[in-house]
Protein backbone atom coordinates (compact mmCIF):
# COMPACT_ATOMS: atom_id res chain seq x y z
CA UNK A 1 0.00 0.00 0.00
CA UNK A 2 1.44 3.34 -1.10
CA UNK A 3 2.07 6.02 1.52
CA UNK A 4 -0.50 8.77 1.82
CA UNK A 5 0.49 12.24 0.70
CA UNK A 6 0.96 14.61 3.65
CA UNK A 7 1.62 18.30 3.85
CA UNK A 8 1.87 19.83 7.29
CA UNK A 9 -1.57 19.56 8.83
CA UNK A 10 -3.18 18.04 5.73
CA UNK A 11 -3.07 14.58 4.30
CA UNK A 12 -4.50 12.99 1.16
CA UNK A 13 -5.89 9.47 0.94
CA UNK A 14 -6.36 8.04 -2.54
CA UNK A 15 -8.75 5.15 -2.10
CA UNK A 16 -7.49 3.16 -5.08
CA UNK A 17 -3.80 3.57 -4.20
CA UNK A 18 -4.01 3.57 -0.41
CA UNK A 19 -6.88 1.13 0.13
CA UNK A 20 -8.49 -0.77 -2.75
CA UNK A 21 -10.12 -0.57 -6.14
CA UNK A 22 -12.91 -2.72 -4.66
CA UNK A 23 -14.20 -1.06 -1.48
CA UNK A 24 -17.32 -2.98 -0.43
CA UNK A 25 -19.33 -4.10 2.56
CA UNK A 26 -19.67 -2.94 6.13
CA UNK A 27 -17.81 -5.36 8.31
CA UNK A 28 -14.48 -7.11 8.05
CA UNK A 29 -16.37 -10.39 7.72
CA UNK A 30 -18.09 -9.07 4.56
CA UNK A 31 -14.90 -8.91 2.54
CA UNK A 32 -11.32 -7.74 2.44
CA UNK A 33 -12.01 -4.03 1.85
CA UNK A 34 -14.91 -3.17 4.12
CA UNK A 35 -16.14 0.17 5.41
CA UNK A 36 -15.02 -0.81 8.90
CA UNK A 37 -11.49 -1.53 7.73
CA UNK A 38 -11.24 1.74 5.81
CA UNK A 39 -12.67 3.74 8.71
CA UNK A 40 -10.65 2.16 11.50
CA UNK A 41 -7.35 1.39 9.76
CA UNK A 42 -6.98 4.41 7.48
CA UNK A 43 -9.50 7.21 7.95
CA UNK A 44 -9.65 7.47 11.74
CA UNK A 45 -5.86 7.45 12.20
CA UNK A 46 -5.61 10.16 9.55
CA UNK A 47 -8.25 12.30 11.30
CA UNK A 48 -6.45 11.82 14.58
CA UNK A 49 -3.15 13.03 13.13
CA UNK A 50 -4.13 15.68 10.60
CA UNK A 51 -6.45 18.64 10.64
CA UNK A 52 -7.63 18.28 7.04
CA UNK A 53 -8.07 14.89 5.37
CA UNK A 54 -8.56 14.90 1.61
CA UNK A 55 -10.06 11.71 0.18
CA UNK A 56 -9.69 11.05 -3.55
CA UNK A 57 -12.50 8.66 -4.40
CA UNK A 58 -12.50 8.18 -8.17
CA UNK A 59 -11.27 5.04 -9.92
CA UNK A 60 -13.00 2.30 -7.95
CA UNK A 61 -15.71 -0.04 -9.24
CA UNK A 62 -18.23 2.05 -7.30
CA UNK A 63 -19.39 2.65 -3.75
CA UNK A 64 -22.26 0.79 -2.16
CA UNK A 65 -24.45 2.26 0.54
CA UNK A 66 -23.19 -0.24 3.07
CA UNK A 67 -19.56 0.75 2.61
CA UNK A 68 -20.22 4.49 2.64
CA UNK A 69 -22.52 4.44 5.66
CA UNK A 70 -20.15 2.32 7.72
CA UNK A 71 -17.04 4.24 6.69
CA UNK A 72 -18.45 7.74 7.18
CA UNK A 73 -21.60 7.39 9.29
CA UNK A 74 -19.57 5.09 11.48
CA UNK A 75 -17.17 7.93 12.27
CA UNK A 76 -20.05 9.38 14.30
CA UNK A 77 -21.71 6.20 15.58
CA UNK A 78 -18.62 4.15 16.38
CA UNK A 79 -15.69 6.55 16.61
CA UNK A 80 -17.47 9.44 18.33
CA UNK A 81 -16.62 12.20 15.87
CA UNK A 82 -18.92 15.19 15.51
CA UNK A 83 -20.63 15.93 12.19
CA UNK A 84 -19.87 19.63 12.22
CA UNK A 85 -16.22 18.99 12.90
CA UNK A 86 -16.00 16.27 10.24
CA UNK A 87 -17.57 18.33 7.49
CA UNK A 88 -15.00 21.05 8.11
CA UNK A 89 -12.10 18.61 8.04
CA UNK A 90 -13.06 16.08 5.36
CA UNK A 91 -12.36 17.18 1.80
CA UNK A 92 -14.04 14.70 -0.60
CA UNK A 93 -12.58 14.81 -4.10
CA UNK A 94 -14.65 13.09 -6.79
CA UNK A 95 -16.17 13.69 -10.21
CA UNK A 96 -19.47 12.35 -8.84
CA UNK A 97 -21.32 15.15 -7.03
CA UNK A 98 -23.93 12.70 -5.83
CA UNK A 99 -21.24 10.80 -3.92
CA UNK A 100 -20.34 13.92 -1.92
CA UNK A 101 -24.00 14.51 -1.14
CA UNK A 102 -24.47 10.88 -0.08
CA UNK A 103 -21.50 10.93 2.27
CA UNK A 104 -22.69 14.15 3.91
CA UNK A 105 -26.17 12.66 4.23
CA UNK A 106 -24.82 9.60 6.06
CA UNK A 107 -22.78 11.81 8.38
CA UNK A 108 -25.81 13.98 9.16
CA UNK A 109 -28.07 10.98 9.59
CA UNK A 110 -25.63 9.34 12.00
CA UNK A 111 -25.35 12.57 13.98
CA UNK A 112 -29.16 12.87 14.22
CA UNK A 113 -29.44 9.30 15.48
CA UNK A 114 -26.61 9.88 17.90
CA UNK A 115 -28.34 13.00 19.23
CA UNK A 116 -31.60 11.10 19.76
CA UNK A 117 -29.83 8.35 21.66
CA UNK A 118 -28.09 10.96 23.76
CA UNK A 119 -31.41 12.67 24.57
CA UNK A 120 -33.04 9.34 25.45
CA UNK A 121 -30.21 8.44 27.77
CA UNK A 122 -30.34 11.87 29.48
CA UNK A 123 -34.09 11.49 29.92
CA UNK A 124 -33.63 8.15 31.60
CA UNK A 125 -31.29 9.76 34.09
CA UNK A 126 -33.72 12.54 35.13
CA UNK A 127 -34.91 11.79 38.65
CA UNK A 128 -38.62 11.76 39.32
Amino acid sequence: MDNQTTTGTQTTINIVKNFSKYPAGRFRSDGDYSGTRFRDDILTPALQRFNIVTIEMDGTLGYGSSFLEEAFGGLIRVRGFNAGDLKGRLDIKTSDDNLVYTIRHYIDEAQSSSNLIGVAKSSERVPI
Binding site: A24, S29, S65, S66, E70
Partner: protein, 281 residues
Protein backbone atom coordinates in the same frame (compact mmCIF):
# COMPACT_ATOMS: atom_id res chain seq x y z
CA UNK B 1 -30.98 -21.16 -22.61
CA UNK B 2 -31.96 -18.18 -20.47
CA UNK B 3 -29.58 -16.67 -17.96
CA UNK B 4 -31.66 -16.96 -14.79
CA UNK B 5 -32.84 -20.53 -15.26
CA UNK B 6 -29.40 -21.67 -16.37
CA UNK B 7 -27.82 -20.01 -13.37
CA UNK B 8 -30.12 -21.75 -10.91
CA UNK B 9 -29.46 -25.09 -12.60
CA UNK B 10 -25.70 -24.49 -12.46
CA UNK B 11 -25.80 -23.38 -8.81
CA UNK B 12 -27.63 -26.55 -7.74
CA UNK B 13 -25.25 -28.77 -9.71
CA UNK B 14 -22.21 -26.94 -8.35
CA UNK B 15 -23.47 -27.17 -4.77
CA UNK B 16 -24.05 -30.90 -5.06
CA UNK B 17 -20.71 -31.45 -6.78
CA UNK B 18 -18.85 -29.59 -4.03
CA UNK B 19 -20.56 -31.63 -1.34
CA UNK B 20 -19.93 -34.82 -3.28
CA UNK B 21 -16.25 -33.93 -3.60
CA UNK B 22 -15.99 -33.37 0.13
CA UNK B 23 -17.95 -36.49 1.02
CA UNK B 24 -16.10 -38.78 -1.32
CA UNK B 25 -12.68 -37.14 -1.11
CA UNK B 26 -12.21 -37.63 -4.80
CA UNK B 27 -13.34 -41.25 -4.83
CA UNK B 28 -15.93 -41.81 -7.53
CA UNK B 29 -18.46 -39.29 -8.78
CA UNK B 30 -22.11 -38.65 -8.12
CA UNK B 31 -22.74 -37.25 -11.60
CA UNK B 32 -22.69 -38.63 -15.07
CA UNK B 33 -23.61 -36.65 -18.14
CA UNK B 34 -23.44 -36.95 -21.89
CA UNK B 35 -22.79 -34.28 -24.46
CA UNK B 36 -25.92 -32.61 -25.85
CA UNK B 37 -26.80 -33.13 -29.51
CA UNK B 38 -27.05 -29.40 -30.15
CA UNK B 39 -23.52 -28.00 -30.51
CA UNK B 40 -24.63 -24.53 -29.35
CA UNK B 41 -26.03 -26.00 -26.13
CA UNK B 42 -22.74 -27.86 -25.66
CA UNK B 43 -20.86 -24.58 -26.02
CA UNK B 44 -23.14 -22.96 -23.44
CA UNK B 45 -22.72 -25.77 -20.91
CA UNK B 46 -18.97 -25.57 -21.38
CA UNK B 47 -18.74 -21.78 -21.32
CA UNK B 48 -20.75 -21.42 -18.12
CA UNK B 49 -18.64 -24.01 -16.34
CA UNK B 50 -21.10 -26.86 -15.99
CA UNK B 51 -18.89 -29.42 -17.75
CA UNK B 52 -15.93 -28.34 -15.66
CA UNK B 53 -17.95 -28.80 -12.48
CA UNK B 54 -19.06 -32.27 -13.53
CA UNK B 55 -15.59 -33.33 -14.61
CA UNK B 56 -16.64 -33.64 -18.24
CA UNK B 57 -13.95 -32.98 -20.83
CA UNK B 58 -14.40 -29.54 -22.37
CA UNK B 59 -13.99 -30.26 -26.06
CA UNK B 60 -15.94 -27.51 -27.82
CA UNK B 61 -14.47 -24.47 -29.50
CA UNK B 62 -16.43 -21.53 -28.09
CA UNK B 63 -17.17 -19.47 -31.17
CA UNK B 64 -20.93 -18.93 -31.37
CA UNK B 65 -22.01 -15.31 -31.01
CA UNK B 66 -24.72 -16.29 -28.55
CA UNK B 67 -22.22 -18.05 -26.31
CA UNK B 68 -18.87 -16.33 -26.29
CA UNK B 69 -20.14 -13.31 -24.32
CA UNK B 70 -21.28 -15.40 -21.33
CA UNK B 71 -19.22 -15.03 -18.18
CA UNK B 72 -19.68 -16.87 -14.91
CA UNK B 73 -18.34 -16.61 -11.40
CA UNK B 74 -18.94 -18.07 -7.97
CA UNK B 75 -17.65 -17.13 -4.55
CA UNK B 76 -18.35 -16.29 -0.94
CA UNK B 77 -18.41 -12.83 0.65
CA UNK B 78 -17.89 -9.73 -1.48
CA UNK B 79 -15.28 -10.26 -4.18
CA UNK B 80 -14.65 -7.13 -6.18
CA UNK B 81 -12.16 -8.79 -8.50
CA UNK B 82 -14.96 -11.05 -9.77
CA UNK B 83 -17.22 -8.08 -10.35
CA UNK B 84 -14.40 -6.52 -12.36
CA UNK B 85 -14.15 -9.68 -14.44
CA UNK B 86 -17.88 -9.49 -15.16
CA UNK B 87 -17.57 -5.81 -15.97
CA UNK B 88 -15.46 -6.75 -18.99
CA UNK B 89 -18.71 -7.87 -20.66
CA UNK B 90 -20.50 -4.55 -20.22
CA UNK B 91 -17.74 -1.94 -19.82
CA UNK B 92 -18.34 0.77 -22.39
CA UNK B 93 -21.71 -0.62 -23.40
CA UNK B 94 -23.86 0.86 -20.67
CA UNK B 95 -25.41 4.29 -21.10
CA UNK B 96 -22.62 5.87 -19.06
CA UNK B 97 -19.75 5.10 -16.69
CA UNK B 98 -22.04 6.09 -13.83
CA UNK B 99 -24.51 3.37 -14.85
CA UNK B 100 -21.66 0.85 -15.06
CA UNK B 101 -20.73 1.71 -11.47
CA UNK B 102 -24.37 1.47 -10.40
CA UNK B 103 -24.55 -2.06 -11.81
CA UNK B 104 -21.26 -2.99 -10.11
CA UNK B 105 -22.62 -1.74 -6.80
CA UNK B 106 -25.89 -3.61 -7.29
CA UNK B 107 -23.97 -6.85 -7.75
CA UNK B 108 -21.82 -6.03 -4.75
CA UNK B 109 -24.88 -5.49 -2.56
CA UNK B 110 -26.34 -8.79 -3.77
CA UNK B 111 -23.11 -10.47 -2.61
CA UNK B 112 -23.46 -8.71 0.74
CA UNK B 113 -27.04 -9.85 1.20
CA UNK B 114 -25.87 -13.37 0.52
CA UNK B 115 -23.06 -13.08 3.05
CA UNK B 116 -25.17 -11.46 5.77
CA UNK B 117 -28.65 -12.95 5.44
CA UNK B 118 -29.03 -15.81 3.00
CA UNK B 119 -27.49 -18.60 5.01
CA UNK B 120 -28.38 -17.66 8.57
CA UNK B 121 -30.64 -20.38 9.87
CA UNK B 122 -31.93 -19.68 13.35
CA UNK B 123 -32.19 -22.60 15.69
CA UNK B 124 -33.72 -22.47 19.15
CA UNK B 125 -32.53 -24.56 22.07
CA UNK B 126 -34.38 -24.11 25.34
CA UNK B 127 -35.46 -20.58 24.36
CA UNK B 128 -31.99 -19.43 23.40
CA UNK B 129 -31.48 -18.37 19.82
CA UNK B 130 -28.52 -19.80 17.99
CA UNK B 131 -27.64 -18.74 14.48
CA UNK B 132 -26.40 -21.62 12.34
CA UNK B 133 -24.56 -20.58 9.23
CA UNK B 134 -23.94 -22.67 6.16
CA UNK B 135 -20.31 -23.76 5.94
CA UNK B 136 -20.20 -22.64 2.30
CA UNK B 137 -22.39 -19.47 1.99
CA UNK B 138 -21.94 -19.29 -1.74
CA UNK B 139 -23.28 -17.12 -4.51
CA UNK B 140 -23.24 -17.71 -8.28
CA UNK B 141 -23.40 -15.22 -11.13
CA UNK B 142 -23.71 -15.07 -14.92
CA UNK B 143 -23.53 -12.24 -17.38
CA UNK B 144 -24.80 -12.59 -20.91
CA UNK B 145 -25.02 -10.23 -23.87
CA UNK B 146 -27.71 -11.11 -26.38
CA UNK B 147 -29.95 -9.17 -28.81
CA UNK B 148 -28.56 -5.83 -27.59
CA UNK B 149 -29.53 -6.71 -24.03
CA UNK B 150 -27.25 -7.30 -21.09
CA UNK B 151 -28.51 -9.92 -18.62
CA UNK B 152 -26.81 -10.26 -15.26
CA UNK B 153 -28.12 -13.07 -13.09
CA UNK B 154 -27.12 -13.56 -9.46
CA UNK B 155 -28.30 -16.23 -7.03
CA UNK B 156 -27.77 -17.85 -3.68
CA UNK B 157 -29.30 -21.09 -2.38
CA UNK B 158 -30.11 -19.83 1.08
CA UNK B 159 -33.29 -19.27 3.05
CA UNK B 160 -34.77 -16.62 0.75
CA UNK B 161 -35.95 -13.08 1.41
CA UNK B 162 -39.40 -13.95 2.84
CA UNK B 163 -37.96 -16.33 5.43
CA UNK B 164 -35.13 -13.94 6.19
CA UNK B 165 -37.66 -11.19 6.96
CA UNK B 166 -39.72 -13.48 9.17
CA UNK B 167 -36.59 -14.58 11.02
CA UNK B 168 -35.09 -11.07 11.41
CA UNK B 169 -34.48 -10.39 15.04
CA UNK B 170 -34.48 -6.88 16.39
CA UNK B 171 -34.21 -8.01 20.03
CA UNK B 172 -37.68 -6.74 20.76
CA UNK B 173 -39.05 -10.10 21.73
CA UNK B 174 -40.60 -12.94 19.87
CA UNK B 175 -44.32 -12.49 19.22
CA UNK B 176 -44.50 -16.27 18.92
CA UNK B 177 -46.25 -16.45 15.59
CA UNK B 178 -43.35 -17.22 13.28
CA UNK B 179 -42.19 -13.61 13.29
CA UNK B 180 -39.13 -12.85 15.37
CA UNK B 181 -39.48 -9.08 15.37
CA UNK B 182 -42.73 -7.36 16.38
CA UNK B 183 -41.43 -4.08 14.97
CA UNK B 184 -40.92 -5.51 11.50
CA UNK B 185 -44.20 -7.41 11.61
CA UNK B 186 -46.08 -4.29 12.71
CA UNK B 187 -44.54 -2.18 9.97
CA UNK B 188 -45.29 -4.73 7.26
CA UNK B 189 -48.84 -5.18 8.53
CA UNK B 190 -49.39 -1.44 8.44
CA UNK B 191 -48.37 -1.23 4.79
CA UNK B 192 -50.27 -4.38 3.88
CA UNK B 193 -47.25 -6.45 2.89
CA UNK B 194 -47.62 -9.55 5.00
CA UNK B 195 -49.73 -11.88 3.04
CA UNK B 196 -47.41 -13.49 0.51
CA UNK B 197 -43.79 -14.20 -0.42
CA UNK B 198 -44.03 -11.83 -3.39
CA UNK B 199 -45.26 -8.99 -1.20
CA UNK B 200 -42.50 -9.70 1.28
CA UNK B 201 -39.89 -9.28 -1.45
CA UNK B 202 -41.50 -5.94 -2.30
CA UNK B 203 -41.62 -5.10 1.40
CA UNK B 204 -37.90 -5.66 1.77
CA UNK B 205 -37.33 -2.55 -0.36
CA UNK B 206 -39.79 -0.56 1.76
CA UNK B 207 -38.16 -1.73 4.97
CA UNK B 208 -34.79 -0.59 3.72
CA UNK B 209 -36.16 2.85 2.90
CA UNK B 210 -37.89 3.19 6.24
CA UNK B 211 -36.18 3.75 9.53
CA UNK B 212 -38.13 0.98 11.18
CA UNK B 213 -35.11 -0.40 12.92
CA UNK B 214 -31.38 0.30 12.92
CA UNK B 215 -31.68 3.42 10.79
CA UNK B 216 -28.13 3.01 9.50
CA UNK B 217 -28.91 -0.44 8.04
CA UNK B 218 -31.00 -1.89 5.22
CA UNK B 219 -29.80 0.44 2.47
CA UNK B 220 -28.41 -2.20 0.14
CA UNK B 221 -31.61 -3.22 -1.65
CA UNK B 222 -31.92 0.30 -3.00
CA UNK B 223 -28.51 -0.19 -4.59
CA UNK B 224 -29.74 -3.36 -6.30
CA UNK B 225 -32.58 -1.45 -7.93
CA UNK B 226 -30.67 1.75 -8.65
CA UNK B 227 -29.13 0.93 -12.04
CA UNK B 228 -32.49 0.31 -13.70
CA UNK B 229 -34.28 3.06 -11.75
CA UNK B 230 -31.82 5.77 -12.69
CA UNK B 231 -31.31 4.61 -16.26
CA UNK B 232 -35.08 4.62 -16.76
CA UNK B 233 -34.99 1.43 -18.81
CA UNK B 234 -34.49 -2.31 -18.49
CA UNK B 235 -35.91 -4.23 -15.56
CA UNK B 236 -35.06 -5.88 -12.28
CA UNK B 237 -36.55 -9.28 -11.44
CA UNK B 238 -36.28 -11.14 -8.14
CA UNK B 239 -37.41 -14.68 -7.43
CA UNK B 240 -37.35 -15.79 -3.81
CA UNK B 241 -39.38 -18.49 -2.09
CA UNK B 242 -42.70 -18.63 -3.91
CA UNK B 243 -42.56 -14.95 -4.74
CA UNK B 244 -41.67 -13.06 -7.89
CA UNK B 245 -41.04 -9.32 -7.98
CA UNK B 246 -40.32 -7.20 -11.03
CA UNK B 247 -39.53 -3.51 -11.27
CA UNK B 248 -39.93 -1.69 -14.58
CA UNK B 249 -38.60 1.86 -14.41
CA UNK B 250 -40.32 3.06 -17.57
CA UNK B 251 -43.60 3.51 -15.71
CA UNK B 252 -42.10 3.16 -12.22
CA UNK B 253 -44.10 -0.07 -12.03
CA UNK B 254 -43.78 -2.93 -9.57
CA UNK B 255 -45.26 -6.32 -10.40
CA UNK B 256 -45.61 -9.12 -7.86
CA UNK B 257 -46.77 -12.66 -8.35
CA UNK B 258 -46.75 -15.87 -6.32
CA UNK B 259 -46.06 -19.32 -7.68
CA UNK B 260 -47.01 -22.75 -6.46
CA UNK B 261 -43.41 -23.93 -6.27
CA UNK B 262 -40.47 -22.28 -4.52
CA UNK B 263 -37.16 -21.06 -5.79
CA UNK B 264 -34.49 -22.35 -3.40
CA UNK B 265 -32.86 -19.15 -2.18
CA UNK B 266 -32.90 -15.89 -4.09
CA UNK B 267 -32.40 -15.20 -7.80
CA UNK B 268 -31.85 -11.66 -9.05
CA UNK B 269 -31.87 -10.73 -12.74
CA UNK B 270 -30.92 -7.35 -14.17
CA UNK B 271 -31.86 -6.84 -17.83
CA UNK B 272 -30.41 -3.69 -19.34
CA UNK B 273 -30.29 -2.39 -22.92
CA UNK B 274 -26.78 -2.08 -24.32
CA UNK B 275 -25.57 1.07 -26.01
CA UNK B 276 -23.37 1.00 -29.10
CA UNK B 277 -21.08 3.80 -27.90
CA UNK B 278 -20.30 5.06 -24.42
CA UNK B 279 -21.87 8.34 -23.44
CA UNK B 280 -20.24 9.79 -20.34
CA UNK B 281 -22.81 10.88 -17.78
Amino acid sequence: MIADGTLLFYAEVDKLARRDKIARSGRGKMFRCSYPKDPVVEQVLQQVGIFGTLGKTERADINHDLVKHWRWATGVRVQGDKIEMMQEVYQGKMASEVMTRHLNVGIEEAMLNCANHAYHYPRFAKGNKIIVTESDPRWWMFTQEKDKQLSVAFCDLGIGIPTSLRQADTDDGDPGDGWKSPIIKEFLTAIGFLESDARLIQAAFELGRSKTYQSNRGKGLGDIKRVVKESGEGKLSIYSGKGYYRYEPLNDREIVENYHDSVPGTLILWTIPIRGEEIDG
